[in-house]
């Protein structure tokens, strides 16, 4: 399995977007803190790892992750 830079960027943008969206819903009083946290708990780790993948991945082709040794 290989991960391209664009794919990592998409996952990061999606995760960050979800985090911001639920935070905004909580700020607006539409959803409670528990629901907001329930979304952030899985979204935050995925966003962090996707960010790391994004900035270390090469511009073209598959990247180093998952090459095995």
């Amino acid at each position: 399995m290989r991960m391209k830079k664009t794919m990592a960027a998409r996952i990061f943008c999606l995760g960050a977007g979800v985090c911001m969206f639920v935070s905004a819903l909580y700020l607006a009083g539409i959803i409670p803190l528990t629901l907001c946290a329930a979304v952030l708990v899985p979204a935050f780790p995925a966003t962090v790892l996707a960010l790391f993948f994004w900035w270390m991945a090469g511009q073209s082709g598959g990247d180093i992750p998952f090459i095995g040794y």
């Binding site: 803190l33 946290a37 708990v41 998952f66």
Partner: protein, 291 residues
């Protein structure tokens, strides 16, 4: 900590807590070095570690269970994110206690997922060192006897009326301090990170996976120290909370710097002795409070 968070704060506080937690780990490491008359790394070293690992070559070993190897990093960050929100919402101390225990299972997962013998031994030691959580059960029981609640918000309200539990339940605070000590790196109970195991359960988690683990460690340190201060001091303003955490780190660093790492057997034995003493104390509190 229990005030309603704004939309940007929900994310910003999580990120800042992670970075401050890493800074605390850096201060911890620096202090240990200075006490031992070594120069030591700069205090922001752990933050640099996180960034450094995120740029490193990343792989999944052929001997690893891919799903567990990757998934356990996500779970590690996820559980401490959950703990952070339980803390800021003034939720149940029992949930945080559960996450303390869950972290041991996650460490075990880290070790087993790689297929490396060093990782496996580190994982096994994580399970053994779960003995360090037992004094926490007794601490929580004593807090429940005093406050009649395990909600952090109720515990804070109790302390606003009756004063900090640090003074009224000092042995329970000592036991919880011991639990935090067991989770700090370079401590006498850090048997999961003993040098004979290379890097223990995280030996094979390198590159991005280790950077993720560093994020988890930062968040974990922040939550551990903040929970201690919340439970035994009460509600604090942000500057006092951060100051209190730094003071706790200084105390932990002194404890780590002047004590050698114990063998797994000695570590568990001491934890069990502490648990026994705490049980006697809890019984005495129970008899006095509810004769």
């Amino acid at each position: 900590m229990t005030s309603r968070l704004s939309g940007t704060d929900m994310i910003a506080e999580l990120v800042l807590a992670t970075i401050f937690g890493l800074l605390l780990l850096g201060i911890h490491r620096k202090l240990i070095a200075r006490i031992q008359r070594r120069p030591g790394p700069p205090v922001w070293q752990e933050i640099l570690h996180m960034l450094k690992f995120s740029f490193k070559t990343t792989w999944v070993p052929l001997t690893a269970s891919r799903t567990l190897f990757v998934g356990v990093v996500l779970i590690a960050i996820g559980i401490w994110t959950a703990a952070f929100y339980v803390l800021v919402s003034g939720g149940s101390l029992l949930v945080i206690l559960g996450i303390y225990m869950l972290h041991k299972i996650v460490e075990h997962g880290f070790g087993l997922s790689s297929g490396s013998p060093y990782g496996k031994y580190g994982g096994v030691r994580s399970v053994i060192s779960a003995a360090s959580e037992i004094p926490l059960f007794v601490s929580v029981a004593v807090i429940a006897v005093y406050t009649h609640s395990l909600d952090l918000s109720s515990i804070m309200q109790y302390q606003q009326v009756y004063g900090p539990l640090l003074f009224t339940a000092f042995p329970a605070a000592c036991a919880m301090f011991l639990v935090i000590l067991s989770k700090m790196p370079f401590g006498p109970f850090s048997i999961v990170e003993a040098k004979e195991l290379v890097s223990g359960y995280k030996t094979e988690h390198f590159g991005i996976w280790r950077a993720g683990l560093e994020v988890c460690n930062g968040l974990k340190s922040f939550v551990l120290l903040a929970v201690f201060l919340t439970v035994f001091i009460g509600q604090l303003t942000l500057p006092w909370l951060l100051t209190g955490m730094i003071i706790l780190v200084v105390l932990l660093a002194f404890s780590c710097a002047v004590t050698p790492m114990m063998s797994p057997f000695d570590s568990v034995t001491i934890q069990m002795v502490v648990t026994g003493l705490m049980l006697v104390y809890a019984m005495a509190v129970l008899v006095v409070m509810h004769p």
